[in-house]
């Protein structure tokens, strides 16, 4: 069952009076109760996509076209007040940078309270109970004391757990986690992700996990969508994609993951770099410059997202004409 369906979403970013396409005709379907990964390198637009879903695009960005349908409602057509009632309630988000995500002048307990009280009128005593409960469930200890602490008194890992607690307290149907562990120690990373998985199972929510770490994706996610330069290049079940990637970019990504068996060999990395927004061409495939296997047409024609073998790929070499 589809929880979230994004269709033909395009988002522009305005920079010094010039508009650039940051998200280009995005089409994704996110399955209910599953963990879907959104993978791609920095700058590909994954954070922008999550902000679009939440309706929290920065001032410079604007929706150019498309729809985001959640439970039969097009989020892009909602008024601000209606969107406010969905945020933190039906859909919530966990951000990448825990160090700056919390208000330095408010007790952390109160900040979690806020998430609850914004959506549900709850009597005083119950509020505190619920907050303490969720704090326990995200793996925090001595929560009664922690409740009255301020953000600067907590470690990065603890802060991130507070953010997660805020995101989960209203038992949202969809959780977007934007690289929730990138800024944390590796040891904490594992704990947090495990906790996310467990909670996801317990609450039956849908999780969209944004990451650039394929190892994590492999562990947790049932579906993957791969993004490059504002476009979806490959989408499908993680098992099939990770085992048999069809898009050259996906292939490159998987090849880049360092393996123990590769000892003493030079690490592979995809040659070149993702071009910044203002230097991207709209002609031809965006990945063409870095692709090891280009055809002449790749520089002229932009590939569509096509369905083959139960997954979607956007490559001129795949799905028909040139295979």
């Amino acid at each position: 069952m589809t929880k979230l369906k994004i269709e033909n979403l395009s988002v522009d970013i305005k920079n010094k009076n010039q508009k650039h396409k940051a998200l280009d005709d995005i089409n994704i379907e996110i399955e209910s109760e599953k963990i879907t990964a959104l993978v791609g390198e920095s700058g590909c637009g994954k954070s922008l996509l999550s902000l679009s879903i939440m309706g929290l695009l920065p001032e410079a960005a604007s929706i150019a076209a498309g729809s985001i349908v959640f439970d039969n409602i097009n989020l892009l057509q909602l008024r601000e007040k209606e969107m406010d009632s969905i945020r933190g309630n039906k859909i919530s988000m966990i951000f990448q940078e825990p160090m700056t995500a919390l208000n330095p002048l408010m007790k952390v307990g109160e900040q979690i309270e806020e998430a609850l009280l914004t959506h549900k009128k709850t009597p005083r005593k119950e509020v505190k109970e619920q907050v303490l409960d969720i704090m326990n469930r995200v793996g925090l200890s001595r929560v009664k004391q922690l409740y009255n602490d301020f953000p600067h008194q907590l470690s990065g890992g603890m802060k991130q757990r507070i953010v997660i607690a805020m995101a989960l307290i209203n038992k949202p149907e969809l959780i977007i986690a934007d690289e929730p562990t990138t800024a944390l120690d590796v040891t904490i990373q594992y704990q947090i992700l495990e906790m996310l998985r467990k909670l996801n199972q317990e609450m039956g929510s849908t999780l969209l996990l944004i990451s650039h770490d394929l190892g994590v994706v492999n562990e947790l996610c049932s579906n993957i969508a791969v993004m490059y330069a504002g476009k979806i290049v490959e989408e499908g079940s993680s098992e099939s994609i990770l085992k048999t990637p069809k898009h050259p970019y996906t292939q490159g990504l998987i090849k880049s993951v360092p393996r123990f068996s590769q000892k003493n060999q030079k690490l592979y990395s995809i040659p070149g770099m993702l071009a910044p927004l203002n230097k991207r061409t709209s002609q031809g495939c965006a990945f063409a410059k870095r692709c090891p296997d280009t055809l002449k047409e790749c520089y002229i024609k932009s590939p569509d997202l096509r369905e083959i073998d139960g997954r979607k790929v956007s490559c001129l070499r795949v799905g028909g004409d040139n295979e």
């Binding site: 969905i86 700056t100 301020f150």
Partner: protein, 313 residues
């Protein structure tokens, strides 16, 4: 705790330096106070008597000590001009200056928050730019000229408010406020402009911070985020400016009191300077400087108490 101690030491040394400077400066003065009081052709016996009375025959160090201890005890000698104890003059004039300072601070505080929020919201729009420019004029305009203009408009033309003279609290609350309104406004206009400029910037800075995004992602409405989260964070550093403002208001009152003929401490100092009334000026200046130092101390401590990041480390 350590912070408070450190502060007290700094304050003490600052006050010491100020007292030394104030005292020292007046010793460089050309001319003998005795000559000024009695005239150059005075009877030598009288000169000797007065010199002894004023303690001017004692060595420098002793004079300083006696002056300092005098101040701490509240005995600051007599004003040459008025021939009454300086503390008496101070006592009479302080209520006026304090009233004026407080009232202008009050006006400033009331005006500042709404205007800053408005400017932050409309930062890049024409309205915002226009009002920001008006703020610049507010900063540049001399407070005494504002006073004159206000008098021209409200007193001379409209006859709504008095053009001067102080009406003490004992003679009725309404008249008290009326006599202070225009003077306070004169000071408040400049102070408000400075704070608004600062507060608008801190609000804008905070609006772009991550914690605002987090709050919005919880579903908190835009306005609520502004008032509940942003404002708190923006007002905190403004406390430091507040101290500076009170100091400015004190300085401003010195001139404004003259515009409106209010018998405050500033007026006292000015007449003292004009009459070269050294004992008066010396002690009052030290008093004012010490007040400034204490105000700064209080704002620093206040800041330290309110900001949990400092309080709890």
């Amino acid at each position: 705790m350590k912070y408070a101690l450190k502060k007290i030491v700094t304050i003490a040394s600052t006050l010491l330096v100020i007292s030394l400077l104030t005292f020292g400066v007046f010793q460089i003065l050309p001319g003998n106070p005795v000559d000024i009081i009695l005239g150059v052709d005075a009877d030598p016996l009288q000169v000797k008597a007065l010199t002894q009375q004023l303690g001017l025959d004692l060595p420098l160090g002793q004079r300083y000590i006696s002056w300092i201890t005098g101040i701490l005890k509240g005995d600051m000698g007599n004003s040459i001009r008025y021939q009454v104890p300086v503390e008496q003059l101070l006592k009479q004039s302080l209520p006026v200056t304090i009233s004026l300072t407080l009232m202008s601070m009050l006006i400033t505080l009331i005006v500042v928050v709404p205007v800053s929020i408005f400017l932050a919201k409309h930062n890049n729009k024409k309205v915002g730019v226009l009002i920001s420019f008006i703020m610049q004029i507010g900063i540049a305009i001399p407070s005494f000229w504002v006073g004159i203009l206000l008098v021209m408009f409200f007193s001379v033309t409209l006859h709504w408010l008095p053009s001067g003279d102080y009406s003490p609290l004992s003679q009725g609350f309404l008249n008290y406020i009326r006599s202070l309104l225009l003077p306070s406004l004169s000071i408040a206009i400049g102070s408000s402009a400075v704070v608004i400029r600062y507060l608008k910037t801190t609000i804008l800075d905070n609006m772009n911070m991550d914690y605002v995004r987090t709050a919005r992602s919880k579903g908190v409405a835009r306005n609520k985020v502004l008032y509940k989260h942003v404002l708190r964070n923006a007002l905190l550093p403004t406390i430091t400016i507040l101290g500076m403002l009170i100091v400015n208001a004190l300085g401003g009152s010195i001139i404004v009191e003259n515009v409106f003929n209010l018998p405050g401490t500033g007026h006292l100092v000015i007449t003292g300077v004009a009459n070269r009334d050294f004992p008066l000026v010396q002690s009052v200046v030290f008093y004012l400087a010490a007040t400034v130092v204490f105000i700064n101390l209080i704002t620093d401590l206040l800041y330290a108490i309110i900001d949990p990041r400092i309080r709890l480390t």
